[in-house]
Symmetry: D2
Subunit: 278 residues, 4 copies
């Protein structure tokens, strides 16, 4: 039997859990896990339910659309690997870690391809049997370069794009085509050290902890909803380069975690924040 995921967010109201679980119960579905949350400040309700059964779940979704507040967002998904395309530039650690996890079945994803604006990572990608596309930005304006990326993506129809240390800023036009579907890793503890060279910024400020942040890409640089963060302690003996090296472990782990959470449909985006049911 297929495992389905039902996600609902809507204004809070009495009896929501009762109504929703009732719809599933009457349709003969068996609930595997259930998470709800009401944000008190905004009186908004969030629910994620994983369930199995013989029936088609679309009838439940329709039933709920008729019953719940018209503004309710109701989404159905199957619990199965999702198609992703990974973007990278020159650094191999996040990309390599995703390729390894993918290879041994730890990632709920099917990596369709890797796109890079350099070709240095081609051997790493190809040794894992994954298509590698070198789409150079050299000599191109941003729109032309992104058109080249689009042409490649057209072959793959990915559910999500994962930026594994992709060091180019995407245009609003590009982002809007994949709205809420682009996951980025930023090598700082956001909102500290946005923009370029965060480890140099961290060194100059003399922080004692550095971090990494996985977030959804929006039009504004490094300000999208945060999915996961991780940190590690540093001290005065770390140069900016030492911080960059040490930070790699935090980056790769936090990115893999965020990809997993997104692909398992555990993340709700709400007012530039995330509600996450782990």
């Amino acid at each position: 039997m297929t495992t389905h995921i039902l996600r609902i967010d809507c204004p809070d109201a009495p009896g929501l859990v009762y109504k929703i679980t009732g719809s599933l119960f009457r349709a003969g579905f068996n609930i595997l896990s259930n998470h709800e949350f009401v944000e008190t400040a905004t009186e908004h309700f969030f629910m994620r339910t994983a369930f199995t059964g013989e029936a088609a779940p679309e009838a439940v979704a329709k039933d709920l659309r008729d019953t719940l507040d018209p503004s309710a967002v109701i989404r159905l998904a199957r619990a199965e690997p999702q198609r992703i395309v990974v973007f990278a530039t020159k650094e191999p650690h996040c990309l390599g870690d995703l390729l390894l996890r993918h290879a041994y079945g730890e990632l709920p994803a099917s990596i369709q391809a890797v796109i890079s604006n350099y070709d240095s990572l081609a051997p790493l990608v190809r040794q894992f049997g994954i298509p590698f596309h070198h789409v150079s930005h050299v000599g191109l304006d941003r729109a032309t370069h992104e058109q080249g990326i689009h042409d490649v993506l057209g072959q793959y129809d990915p559910a999500y794009l994962v930026l594994a240390k992709y060091m180019r800023i995407l245009t609003p036009g590009f982002v809007s085509r994949y709205a809420d579907r682009i996951i980025n890793i930023h090598h700082s503890f956001l909102p500290a050290f946005m923009g370029a060279q965060p480890y140099q910024q961290a060194y100059d400020r003399g922080v004692k902890i550095i971090g990494a942040t996985a977030h959804i890409v929006t039009d504004e640089l490094d300000t999208g909803p945060i999915i996961a963060q991780n940190i590690l302690p540093v001290d005065h003996s770390y140069t900016a380069a030492d911080m960059a090296q040490a930070g790699r472990d935090a980056e790769k782990i936090v990115l893999a975690k965020a990809v997993k959470l997104m692909l398992e449909e555990r993340v709700f985006l709400y007012q530039n924040r995330t509600i996450i049911f782990e």
Copy 2:
């Protein structure tokens, strides 16, 4: 309006959430938060619901007792400070931290009294306006000493006993009178370093991380269900005494956390493990 807590654990079955939320909905209660968990291995269901309303919640509990599996454990509680008595010996850090949190309203508890087998902590306790009882164990057998403690406890009727570095082993007879209601802090990362002098044991073993564990007291030393654990890094420069000093911060924070979780009725004990809805 009072906030009530409903806690249920029973064998898993289809439609449990639907039934339970239905009972609450029909009685006119408003659910504030809701947590469920099904342990797949044992097919056992756990649920904690916080709700408000005008009605008496006992009718809902009765309704559920009639509906659910006869083995279901159904408990109602009010979300209000609970009466506790704190036990200590000579070390002030855990006790002092609890007294401070209590004084500024951070602990969901009413500290009725402190009992110690030494009198050195009396000034600290009394400066906070809390009764202090010195019940010396010197020259007494265990049963006689514990009888003295019982005599003191008789005045207070505590819901929970909190052992804040109480360095005496309680007899099974004593523990059984307060079954599942005695919270202890052990100064190691259990199950490592059970028994006496865990920091010396940690030093001798050369560990790089030390910890503290808050757990429910059972008949067997340091093996009861674990509520919370915390750790801190150490290195070769720490003597056993340095570890003990550094460990104090982990101890006091993990004990306060465990007390909060227990008193807010967030902890289910199940097969010597805990299910905790934070």
Copy 3:
């Protein structure tokens, strides 16, 4: 025998450790611990040595002043509790934690007095037998208020001022009189969320980790050299008020740690960063 601390920072040069340990050896001192660090980028040398002996250490310091680069900063101190005055406003958790540690001898400090711009913490302070001074800012301009604080400080001659959630900004004039001697706790992971209401800022940004930062106070708000930082994970279920409550544990522990490091003469300030020998 007294334990002395020798601290040296100067441009790096061959043979520095040899020269310095030679001076101590010839004077008959016994080195207990020794830490050195050379910052490669700036070719600057830092050393902290703890040593004991019968002789007066000033001769060693003089010897080194004659030998080392004229720009060398050479400081001698005794390893003994230092006089501090603690500042607070209304929140008791950092202040209470310092009072507790002081009371049971964990802090290498002698708390001379507590100064607050409100009187609500007076009972907490006085129950520990520490003088409490209420210096209200109401109706006063900043200079007049700070003059009142100076008048109180005049009685105590503190080596360091510790701002334990003191919610007033100090003027450059005040800061300059205690240059490099004022330790502050800021309730965020600096440089994120400088200024007012950092937990509200953290909530609005949707971060998954919050923190606290102890730093030296300089003329510019929340930008002085960082001594210690700590973090704790949060999720969507935390309101800004929940973050504030959870953050208290990080705040009090990081402040106590920073005070200990400073008072034990383990912190070098250098180019708005700190070199710390733990």
Copy 4:
């Protein structure tokens, strides 16, 4: 110029740092970094110095052997990648992580080969261009199997053996041939959960934190000197299998860290503990 590492451990005595740095200074060497530690309880001195210079450092070592206590252990090494052979069984995450780090130059090692008692990891290893040797244990007694491993190792002359989830117990005879040179990763927070199936043990005990431990292999299972440990939080929703999956990240990072520390000659083994200069 070559960077050399000088490591000394000997009974503590006055003037040791002065003598050692004097030997280096007179030979014209330039000290890059210097770490010392005296274990007070045993009055034992440890020092690691990194230095550069034109001269041959053996003269300094000889000079020190003539000067210091006859029991002093004095070792010279070059700061350069060391030859290692990695052992694995079926799990790819630790092995894959080492291969990735090796491929992009983050590991101070030259991986000569991988040996496994199964052949399932052969494709992963070979795609990185590293020799893979399948040395099956099936149907062999322990001595015969280990003889097969010896025959393979004979080609490579490794400085260290790294057990990256190698699930076979090595005999004392094998261990003694590589005494203090075999690094293992154990998938628990030692000394908790020694032996087989530590995650199942952790689940059964209901711990709230799991961990991983990298240690030197000695004759007795899981009791050798600990190099590095790391932990991650878990809760009741983790099955033993979930713990195993989550623990992989801790395992691979702690193993990589331990390998780096060992290969950079930062680890002293002393009385079944480690002194580590990071």
